[in-house]
Amino acid sequence: MIWVDTIVQGVLLGGLYALFAAGLSLVFGIMRLVNLAHGDLIILAAYLILVCVTVLGLHPLLAVLIAAPVMFAVGWGLQRFVLTRTLGDDILPPLLVTFGLSIVIQNALLEGFSADSQRIPLGSVETASVALGPISVGVIPLLTFASAIVVILALNHLFYRTALGRAFRAVSDDATTAQLMGIRPASIFAMATGIAMVVVTIAAIYLGVRANFDPTIGPARLIYAFEAVIIGGLGSFWGTLAGGIIIGVAQTLGGAINPEWQILSGHLAFLLVLLVRPRGLFPRAFD
């Protein structure tokens, strides 16, 4: 029974990784941009929520409602005025710029908030659990996983059922022809990164409630997110969820065998999938 428990906890952890990864998946799917500052932007959003909670005295869920539009604006402006200028035939400039941005965000957060560990207080619900048959699962991990499903459903709806989603796909296919449809790629890209930052904010609240965070843990979140996207196959949101779950389960299984193996086994699972399915589990047909 302990194995079932371990796997269930791993699946729920995978929900958190899918939340980390969903925004990355959206941005990469549309403009082939790997944002190396994605993890640090999650941490930035967590601090933003923390400030709303501790300074303004807001409830954490209310703080998310304030932080989400702020992060949308951050993402929109970042894409419109910085990242879009780096896009082109050369794949190196966006990597260098977002790598630099990652360092800037980490150090700005260190200056502003020190290296002390922080967490977002959510009261008794933090430790609450529900019995699921013979095993008991935490309410927060359950909420995290449910949020991941809702986010993936929402992104799928946006991407495949709305006019904006059609524009996302069209620009991704062929930016020049998209302009003939009256689509301005730069504003489409800005919108995509803005939406990705809203997802990042949702990821940040669960990150901050679940465990401690400090300004330096962003890059590790990026790695998990990136692995989830690659495992799932570029451009597939459900694949990203599957990728998150695979990493989550691998980590908890590895951790159950030997606590030292927890992080390593997640990476090994990633390498294993790459070995068997180099394009990921659910690659989009056109790339």
Binding site: A170, S172, D173, A178, Q179, M181, G182, I183, R184
Partner: protein
């Protein structure tokens, strides 16, 4: 009434000059055929008119205003829609989505909407949920034309719509042009194959090496005059 005119229009790809001072005009409701061999500058002209290639402001006038410096989305919003060479459908979008995206930058009420396109090309209604890449070349061309029409353009630019298609399919495609002209839309048809384009056009312009070498109504131009303008006088 003149809808669009160019004045000494030039275009460059780096140091290579593709257009050498092209002057043309098209009236509202008129259909203009631009013919010429490969490399004559026809597609470059279309790219300039659609805004993909930026020009000097006063090189292109549209509806009484200078529009040469506008971007492609701005030109599209003003009512200039293009059927690009090679069709250029979006592979990630199905047939109906490819049509719907034609209205993204210009939402007007007019004769053209999904049901009107499906009435013009009934086969597309049957295939509306299929991937656009699964269609035959002719059907893809129908989607590309329908996509451009969805914005109810005042000027429709058709770049090589017969390219790579079987003669019988070309006939089908061109059979749709009278219905398009009937709605009052001006049409510029660019072709290497002159037979079909001469049949639908009110006026013909022949281009060679980035210059206009001949123009007139289809009836007034003799076969040999077109031949000389097309290939050069001594070819």
């Amino acid at each position: 009434m003149t809808l669009l005119s160019t004045h000494g229009l030039t275009a460059f790809y780096g140091s290579f000059q593709a257009l050498f001072g092209v002057d043309l005009r098209i009236d509202a409701g008129e259909t203009l055929a631009i013919i010429g061999a490969n490399g004559a500058g026809k597609s470059t002209l279309m790219r300039a008119l659609s805004g993909i290639l930026a020009s000097s402001p006063d090189m292109i006038f549209y509806d009484g205003a200078s529009v040469g410096a506008l971007t492609a989305p701005e030109m599209m919003a003003k009512g200039i829609a293009m059927v690009p060479e090679g069709r250029k459908l979006f592979p990630s979008l199905n047939v109906e989505e490819n049509l719907q995206i034609g209205t993204y930058g210009r939402k007007t009420t007019g004769p053209w909407n999904l049901s009107a396109i499906y009435a013009l090309f009934p086969i597309l209604h049957e295939r509306r949920l299929q991937a656009s890449t699964s269609l035959s070349g002719g059907q893809q061309q129908m989607v590309a034309i329908g996509r451009a029409l969805m914005s109810n353009p005042r000027l429709l630019l058709c770049d090589e719509i017969s390219l790579g298609l079987a003669p019988v399919v070309i006939k089908d495609i061109y059979a749709s042009l009278p219905a398009i002209k009937e709605t009052g839309t001006s049409v510029i048809v660019v072709e290497q194959d002159i037979t079909q384009s001469l049949r639908v056009a009110n006026r013909v312009i022949c281009m060679m090496e980035g210059r206009i070498t001949l123009q007139g109504t289809p009836d007034s131009l003799t076969r040999s005059a077109i031949h000389n303008a097309y290939f050069g006088a001594h070819a």
